[in-house]
């Protein structure tokens, strides 16, 4: 249990239409208890998971998007968003939730959890992981 491994959760599905997005979030929160080096990747339709302004009242499902804002409190502070996936969907960073965390190594300064990366950079980050979990 002493060795810290690099875990990346790879999110490629839109929320609500299937249960993948919610399941991924639940596994991330459970996994956060194990003190590993965790990051999340949002690519393809996965970028829709962190759209701001979600309002599920009309569809009778739980809006789980506010939970992404709590990830910082669980030391999940690296959320990689693929730039090309946003562009293909007509989206920009402004369309996404303003997810932040407080950096304990920098006097608890508030910082952005979302890191915009290119497809090439994301491929490199994936290559760097010990464990990749796809949803």
């Amino acid at each position: 249990m002493s060795e810290i491994k690099k875990f990346m959760y790879v999110n490629r599905k839109a929320p609500y239409g299937t249960v993948y997005a919610l399941e991924s979030l639940e596994v991330v929160l459970i996994g956060a208890a194990f003190d590993q080096d965790v990051s999340l990747a949002f690519l393809d339709d996965g970028v829709f998971q962190i759209m701001k302004g979600q309002d599920t009242q009309g569809v009778g499902m739980k809006n789980f998007s506010p939970t992404y804002s709590a990830l910082g409190d669980y030391d999940v502070t690296k959320l990689y968003v693929e730039r090309e996936s946003l562009e293909e969907r007509g989206l920009t960073l402004d369309d996404l939730l303003p997810l932040k965390y407080e950096d304990e190594d920098d006097d608890w300064a508030e910082k952005d959890s979302i890191k915009l990366v290119s497809r090439e950079e994301l491929a490199g980050l994936m290559e760097d992981q010990d464990v990749l979990l796809n949803f």
Partner: protein
């Protein structure tokens, strides 16, 4: 002899919407719902094809699904009509048949 075509899959994950748009006949209505509502977004890789469908027929989006996903009408392709669940039922009864593109 109008057909209501419904699409509930993301156009970026499946070709259901692309195939639907390729099979439209005059008098058609297209309704986007569930993950199909992403087809109503402006500036996407499939937006021009949806805009063409809006010009020569009726295209609808289920508002409840659109809102659930954080989308607003400012992001929607012009000319698409928003309906609610009752409107969905009305469309289904007005048309002669319904084709569900899964």
């Amino acid at each position: 002899m109008a057909t209501l075509h419904t699409v509930n899959k993301s156009p970026f994950e499946k070709n259901s919407l692309a195939s639907c748009l390729s099979h439209l006949q005059s008098g058609y209505a297209v309704l986007l719902f569930e993950d199909g509502v992403y087809g109503a977004l402006r500036g996407t890789t499939i937006a021009t094809r949806v805009e063409d469908a809006v010009k020569s027929g009726r295209v609808y989006v289920l508002g409840e699904d659109f809102k659930a996903r954080g989308l607003d009408e400012g992001k929607m392709i012009e000319g698409i009509n928003v309906v609610d669940y009752a409107g969905f039922v009305d469309l289904a009864t007005e048309c002669d048949r319904v084709q569900s593109w899964l």
